[in-house]
Structures are given as structure tokens and as C-alpha cells.
Symmetry: C2
Subunit: 330 residues, 2 copies
């Protein structure tokens, strides 16, 4: 069978609503700086009413990566759940606008399309409050087996573990992908998400994941250590035990580290002027990295493109590049 | 009666959907570069489907000015029509977020909240296709007489002339404002809008408008001349005949010109680095100018703040400043 897609992605289909805010807002609203907190519809409305002037952009972690991959020139397909409402139309448009296939049936009734309130503090860090809405309805029936089997890599976000129906969907997708001799990539998503699902994540990485993405905090949380080196050693141990092929750890302005069985490469990144908003930095790193993999590049080159894509998105507000990314492919 | 609001505004309540696009897109879609074209719902959908990655921000010409005024520190109230849908919620939120009073009853059924597709070309110029939606339902009953009577200035956009019910609403607002010894400000909005309503606009300016805003193209279109000097002379003639007190003409990077009976002041503006998107430049000029008037400043100072506000908004995508503007009030 011909591989039809470079990367399929399964993730939350979210529209981000961004506003600049002082640090006091984060603590004042009971949010944790830099983290993603799940909120119910009522709390989301309360928080939104208190927010300053906003801008709305499509979001969702894996969805952002897929949009980035498509903009780089990869063939991509996204699976995620919106409702057939105005935000759902915006999300769907923005996937199609970059050429990503997105055919998951939207909800006709039920909760609204997910929205994520994103507070961007003066240090350009982002803090998120997500109302998961229609995303909670993604299920096994949404997993298009033909798409998964036809994708060289299927990329999955840890955030999905917050919903029980999604877990069954993910298990199905993994089974289909591996039956078709394809690979699974996974992102740990968020430190607190790791905290909620640590045992399952470790089991998943050991048995199913081929390519793992994490930032420093997440990989430390996974292995419950305060020391990055300890976490990296543990991660590399998983590679050595054939539990995972590649672990890519992002480190903000320090670039990234790529681990495999027997190798550890540090890839520094160029300093970025005019950092506006770090939303999507990790997502776009994964986009660049997976694009390189789809082209058969060496891992160092994959990581370098990841660094460049992350460096680009943080000069903009929101996690979807308003300008095509293919110019970054040197 | 105490003046409760510095400025009330009546205008289209629109959510802007912005994307970068090459010049070829503008001509390819039958749009006119730099202009606003009205499109029906079906055409709006067709155009949206062809658009690249988008960002959504609240918009609407007078609404942008009111948001700017509020951000500068003025007391403002907006009258305009949304539907009670997700875009309507976004528009309403963004007015309230900057502290603008906005109490117009939203439509419960009928056309959706208005949206404006904005194409930003590489020269940062914007070209617009507007689906007017719920705005077409604004009517006399939406004009809150207490608000208009309590506002030192009522600001009205020329775009409203594209809807018959809105005209009656405007006439009522003007009557209420003048009965309360308050002033009327008006913007010509768009060259083609002037073309559609020239005779009515001239009559309106001659009999009702105290403060007129226009850009070079619009003022030339109003007086059907290719020569700016001719248009300025004609405009100043209207001031001399007591038909209008103040005419402020914006000139992009050349700043602005302010005319009154017997005076013509040219106010150059500082060069702006990193111009991203000129959407809202005229609207934010009006915001700065009217803020100065609300504080009793000399007209030159009003125009200078207008220039500064316009210079600020063109460094951002969209017409609503994501950062407070009050720091521009020196």
C-alpha cells in the first residue's frame, strides 16, 4: 500500500482565545503559570468575561503541529471533534486552509467546540484554561482506519488521556498503525497532564510509542525527578530497552536534546528577537522534527528544523503561523 | 444633565477574519485593493473557504474607534447589532473588555453576526469583503436616547448608509444629539461607500455633522476631484459656511491635515517600523483625535494623538490593540 500521509494526528480540536495579561491575573484566577487547566463551561465563561481584548486563532496541540507540518509541505490528516458551530467552522477552515485533511464528523448537538483561554504574560509565557466541549465526544468510531494505516507516523497528544472515550480511540489507532507497520509519535503535553496519567503514559511509551516529545518539565515529571540529567538517563534507558526509538526534549531558548539508544545530541537554537507569545512553541518544534523525519533526514537536522519552527511561532500571537513555513526548510 | 459618555458610537458590529494574501488573490477574487466590498452570505462562505490561515478579531469601523477611545481612557458607549451567536459573543466581550458600554439587544433569530474577510497583502494594505448579517437589523428602536443625549459626541460611520433601516436610526440619533446640544462626528468610511451615497453624505455633512473624518481618497471622492488641494479647499469651504466645524483628513505615512474655518494644519506623523497590517489605521486615528477633543485639547494635539494611535495599530494584525493605549497619551 502506498503511504498516503506523512503524518496523521489525533488531538483536541480547539479554538484559542488569547489576551495579554499581567502575572497577577494568573494567580488571581487560581491558574498555574505555564500550565493547562481544564475548566467547565461555566468557569470558562466567567474567566472569559474577565479577560481583556482577545484574538481568536485555531489551536489544539497536535492540530497545531499538523498545521505546521502542512505549511512546511507535508501531507497530513487530522482527527478531532468539533461541533458544527461558528468556532467549529473556524477550526475546520484553518485545517483545510493549510491543506490538512480533516474529515471527522462534527457534533450536530451537544457541547460547543472546545475553546482555550490563553493568558500571555509580559514574559511571553502562556497559561491556559481549556473548556474541552465537543472534544469529549471523540470516540473509536472517529478513527478512520484507512487514514491511520496510510500514515507513516500517527501523532497523539497526552491531553487526550483526560477523556475516557478518547483513550479507546487512541488504543484503536495504535493497533491499526502498528498492524500497518507504521510508527506512533506521542507528546506528554503538560506537566500536570503527566501527573494525572503518569503510570499509563509510562506503559504507553514502553509498549507503543516510537517517537516521544516532551519539554524539560514534562520529562522530569514523568520520571518524578527534579534533575534533568536523571530524567534524560531514564528516557535513554527506555530507548536502550527498545521501549521507544527516539525521545526529543525541548528546552526553550536552549534548543533541544535528542536521545536514541546510544546517542544523545544537544541542538542549540538561535536567539529569537521580539518574542511575543510562546504558545505553540512545543507544537511547532514537533512539526519541524516530524517534517524532517518524513523526509528521511538525520535526527540532528530534524531537531534543527524543529528549533527553527518553534523560533518562528513565538514571534507571533497564537500557535498557527500566519505565514507559510516552507521557507524555513533550508 | 451631566455628560455621562465622552463618545457614543453607532456602527456595524463585525468580527474581522484576517489572513495574509498575495496581491493576485485580490484581483483573482474580483475584489478592489484597499476597498470594502459588500458580499452576501454565500459569497462570503466561498471566499472564506479559499482564504489561508486566519486570525479572528473584533472589528467594525466605529466599534474599533470606540474600543480605542476606551483603551485611551474615555467613557464610551456603542450601539450596533450582533446576533446571539459565538461571533456575537466575541464582539460583545471585546467591547466590554475595554470598558465600553454595549447594551444593544442582540438578534435571537435571523442572520448571523457580521463578518469581514480581510486580506492583508505584502505591502500591509488591507482589502475587505463584508457579510453584513445581523447589522442589517439595526433600527430606530436600537437608538437609546438617554445614551445619545448623555454623550458629548456621537460618532457615526458612513458604512451604515448601505442599510435603509440604519439610516432612520441615524437620523433619530442625530436629532436626539442635537436636541441635547451635543455634537455629531462622522466618517466617510470608504471611497466606494462615498460613491454610493455622495449626495446624501454632502447633505448630511452640510446640515448635521460637526466633525468629519476622511482619508485622502475619500475626501477626493466626496468632491469628485483627483486633486487633494481642490478637495481640501471644498471641505474648508463647508467649514467657512458653518456647515461643519472640523474636517480631519488622514494621509497614511504623511500624517494628517486638520481644517476649520480659516485654519489648515498639517500634522506629520513619525515613521513606523514593522508595519504589519494597516487595518484600523483610520479608526484609531479617529479614536486618538476624539479622545483629545474629549479632554479639550487643541486640534493639533488631537491630530497628533490620532497619528500615534494609527501608528500603533498598524504594527499589529487587526484593528483592536492587544495592549492598552493609554500609554500613548503623553
Amino acid at each position: 500500500m502506498t503511504t498516503k500521509f506523512d503524518v496523521a494526528g489525533i488531538g483536541n480540536a480547539i479554538v484559542d482565545v488569547l489576551a495579554f495579561a499581567p502575572d497577577a491575573t494568573i494567580s488571581g484566577h487560581g491558574l498555574t503559570k505555564g500550565a493547562m487547566m481544564l475548566v467547565d463551561e461555566m468557569r470558562s465563561r466567567e474567566l472569559y468575561e474577565l479577560m481583556g481584548q482577545t484574538t481568536a486563532c485555531s489551536g489544539g496541540s497536535v492540530a497545531n503541529s499538523l498545521a505546521g507540518l502542512a505549511s512546511l509541505g507535508a501531507k497530513t490528516a487530522f482527527i478531532g471533534k468539533v461541533r458544527a458551530d461558528q468556532l467549529g467552522q473556524i477550526f475546520t477552515h484553518d485545517m483545510h486552509a493549510v491543506g490538512t485533511s480533516f474529515t471527522t464528523q462534527p457534533l450536530e448537538i451537544g457541547p460547543a467546540t472546545a475553546s482555550c483561554l490563553i493568558y500571555v504574560t509580559p514574559d511571553a509565557q502562556r497559561t491556559m484554561a481549556t473548556y474541552i466541549g465537543a472534544c469529549s465526544h471523540v470516540s473509536e468510531t472517529d478513527i478512520d482506519e484507512d487514514i491511520i494505516a496510510a500514515s507513516a507516523i500517527t501523532y497523539i497528544e497526552g491531553y487526550l488521556w483526560d477523556m475516557d472515550t478518547a483513550k479507546a480511540a487512541i488504543r484503536k489507532a495504535i493497533r491499526v498503525a502498528h498492524d500497518a507497520k507504521q510508527r506512533i509519535a506521542f507528546t506528554l503535553s503538560d506537566t500536570f497532564c503527566v501527573d494525572r496519567h503518569r503510570a499509563e503514559f509510562i506503559e504507553l511509551i514502553a509498549n507503543e510509542v516510537d517517537i516521544l516529545f516532551a519539554n524539560e518539565s514534562e520529562i522530569k515529571s514523568l520520571f518524578q525527578t527534579d534533575h534533568l540529567q536523571t530524567a534524560l538517563t531514564r528516557a535513554q534507558g527506555m530507548c536502550a530497552n527498545n521501549q521507544c526509538d527516539i525521545v526529543a526534549v525541548t528546552r526553550g531558548e536552549k534548543g533541544s536534546i535528542v536521545l536514541t539508544d546510544g546517542s544523545m545530541e544537544e541542538l542549540p537554537t538561535e536567539a529569537v528577537q521580539n518574542v511575543v507569545d510562546t504558545t505553540g512553541a512545543g507544537d511547532l518544534y514537533a512539526a519541524g522534527f516530524l517534517f524532517g523525519m518524513s523526509r528521511g533526514w538525520k535526527l540532528a537536522a530534524c531537531a534543527q528544523l524543529g528549533n527553527r519552527c518553534a523560533g518562528e511561532i513565538i514571534t507571533q500571537l497564537g500557535a498557527r503561523s500566519m505565514k507559510p513555513l516552507h521557507t524555513l526548510v533550508a
